[in-house]
């Protein structure tokens, strides 16, 4: 680019009016195209977000028995003072954060082996993980229900967490492996020469340079555990053990007409993933799961 500019330093001025005009019309067309596209994307986004906007709006609209006018926080405070919402929120937070931490702790070392190991066993394990992630969770849920019932892990947040870790670790391992693939092995070789063990180079060289990979894996585990409904509906029985999805759902069925309260709780539930995504979006923009699967 710069070479071209240097070769013809006078190209702009000498070509004169004709080229200038053409450039102008081109950029005008570009401008018009841009505004047309802007309008299109604005309208589409508006339509797409209607369900979310409705949720937020209703959450802050005074309920049927309220004396408040305009937008109000009344529904939110009611939901927390009159229902188990605070307990559900705590349950969801505890389960999700444990899932995230343990998933990364299991997936990062395994992903390292998948990325660096060059044996039949390793590639066989890679295939196994890949096939397992595609299987319907309902198949394992029934046997696990029986196993966990015997161990007192039904209606128990620990039991829920174990299943979440189990179901996130397959894709999480692939995501970590895909990220480790992008870290040149020469970095590690340098540390081996300096006397570092394989484990040492994994933690000190590879893991230390993998924050984006760890974050995108963590976001994936977070979304899966926070949003899960199927495992929760099978394994959770009592109100005070419910996570937020079960809470919203139970609440929705019992108070079908009291939409404002349902939506208030729904807003509480959607806030953490939206915040996480807004803050860490760039770490997930490669296409998340798909990107990491496609990258291998």
């Amino acid at each position: 680019m710069s070479a071209v500019l240097h070769a013809h330093p006078e190209s702009g001025p000498t070509l004169g009016t004709d080229a200038g005009k053409r450039r102008k019309t081109l950029s005008e067309a570009g401008q018009r195209g841009r505004w047309w596209r802007f309008a299109a994307i604005l309208i589409i986004t508006g339509i797409v977000l209607v369900p979310i906007m409705v949720t937020v709006l209703l959450a802050f609209t005074p309920g049927p028995n309220s004396t408040a006018t305009g937008l109000t926080f009344e529904n939110l405070s009611n939901v927390f003072s009159k229902t188990l919402a605070a307990t559900w929120l705590k349950n969801s937070l505890v389960t999700t954060l444990s899932t995230v931490v343990v998933s990364v702790a299991v997936a990062a070392p395994a992903g390292y082996v998948l990325s660096r190991g060059r044996s039949k066993a390793v590639s066989g394990y890679s295939l196994l993980l890949f096939v397992m992630q595609s299987l319907p969770i309902i198949t394992s849920v029934v046997p696990l229900f029986i196993l966990f019932a015997g161990m007192g892990l039904v209606d128990n947040l620990l039991g829920l967490t174990i299943i979440y870790v189990g179901s996130t670790m397959t894709v999480a391992t692939w995501m970590m492996a895909a990220y480790f693939d992008s870290i040149p092995i020469s970095l590690e070789e340098a540390s081996w020469i300096d006397g570092c063990s394989v484990f040492g180079s994994f933690t000190r060289v590879v893991l230390r340079n993998s924050l984006p990979g760890v974050l995108s894996t963590a976001i994936f585990a977070f979304l899966l555990a926070w949003n899960d409904y199927l495992v929760a509906i099978v394994f959770l029985r009592s109100n005070e053990i419910f996570t937020l999805p079960m809470g919203v759902q139970s609440f929705f069925q019992q108070n079908a007409t009291d939409w404002t309260s349902v939506m208030a709780l729904a807003v509480v539930m959607m806030l953490p993933p939206v915040i996480v995504f807004a803050a860490l979006n760039k770490y997930f923009s490669v296409g998340g799961i798909g990107g990491s699967l496609a990258g291998r």
Partner: protein, 320 residues
């Protein structure tokens, strides 16, 4: 590690890097390292293997046992061979659910792909606040399904909901989106597309970002029309990513439970009962564990085939 070993290690490695250096020492170093690596790899992989066996391996084997036995959630019962599978395969409910799953998957995959592709193409060009739109358009995928299904319910469930009222005011009657079997099926599929298109958009955007734009300049100089550029350049360049996202989305659609269950519960009159919903209801509402697990097992076998094909494809394309 002592300083002597470090130094000798360093010396060996140096000698190994030098062209024509003595062969034995670096070889020894390498095998020592690889023996250590094998040991380390074993311990690094162990937690993952334990979890895989506990959460995936054991349940899968036990599911095979349950699928071939009668009994319920509390007792396994007697061995009945393929009887549960026969019961399932001869029941009209299974085939109806299989048919709905097929349509749900086809519409889910291609609907979300088309919407995602269109938006990815729109967002590729410079648009004011393009980045903001990109994040906003991800929201349907990020917002928990329990929340969005609640919102959709509010929008369409009763004749007085917002969207049926809109139709009425436009003089188009009052469609009962969740009470009419056909409309309910369509609504669930549209909801699924709404939930899934951001994933497709992300996949396609990532693929498009790696395309060199000078190809288009060259093509337009050669007189290729916009449509030709799209079919001859864009589509082939995103083909691999498209193929992978189709199969992934197929897996997501076949396995999907909450999108359907939360919006319609599988009704009305089983019109939106997919195989997962049917398996769930057979086990946890009808308490027929054997047939329920048999349904899940049939799905599992189908998905194993699909994912092995996908895995091969990924491996093949990463070698290329």
């Amino acid at each position: 590690m002592s300083s002597t070993t470090t130094q000798s290690g360093l010396g060996r490695a140096r000698r190994g890097l030098a062209p024509g250096g003595s062969g034995t020492a670096p070889g020894k170093r390498k095998s020592k390292l690889s023996a250590q690596a094998t040991r380390t790899f074993f311990w690094l992989l162990l937690p993952s293997v334990v979890l895989l066996v506990l959460i995936h391996g054991y349940p899968l084997i036990y599911a095979a046992v349950q699928a071939t036995h009668d009994g319920n959630l509390l007792q396994t019962g007697n061995f009945v061979g393929g009887q549960n599978f026969a019961t399932v395969l001869t029941s009209p409910a299974f085939w109806k659910a299989a048919q709905f799953t097929l349509w749900f998957t086809i519409v889910g995959v291609f609907g979300s792909w088309l919407v995602g592709l269109g938006l990815a193409l729109l967002l590729r060009t410079k648009i004011p606040a393009g980045g903001t739109f990109k994040v906003l358009l991800l929201l349907p995928w990020v917002v928990p399904i329990v929340v969005s299904s609640t919102a959709w319910n509010w929008l369409v469930a009763t004749p007085d909901s917002l969207i049926p009222s809109l139709f009425r005011n436009l003089g188009m009657g009052t469609p009962l989106f969740l009470a009419d079997p056909n409309l309910a099926s369509i609504t669930v599929m549209v909801f699924k597309v709404w939930v899934s298109f951001p994933f497709m958009m992300m996949m396609i955007s990532a693929a498009l970002a790696s395309v060199d734009t000078t190809v288009y300049e060259a093509a337009s100089m050669d007189g290729a029309s916009r449509w030709q550029q799209f079919t001859q350049i864009t589509l082939p360049l995103i083909a691999r990513s498209t193929y992978i996202s189709w199969i992934l989305m197929t897996i997501f659609c076949v396995n999907d439970f909450p999108t359907i269950y939360l919006l319609t519960g599988g009704g009305p009159v089983n019109a939106t009962t997919s195989l997962v919903v049917l398996a769930y209801r057979t086990v946890f509402q009808d308490f027929a564990t054997g047939p329920g697990v048999a349904i899940a097992f049939l799905m599992t076998m189908t998905l194993v085939v699909i994912s092995v094909i996908l895995y091969r494809q990924i491996r093949k394309s990463s070698v290329e």
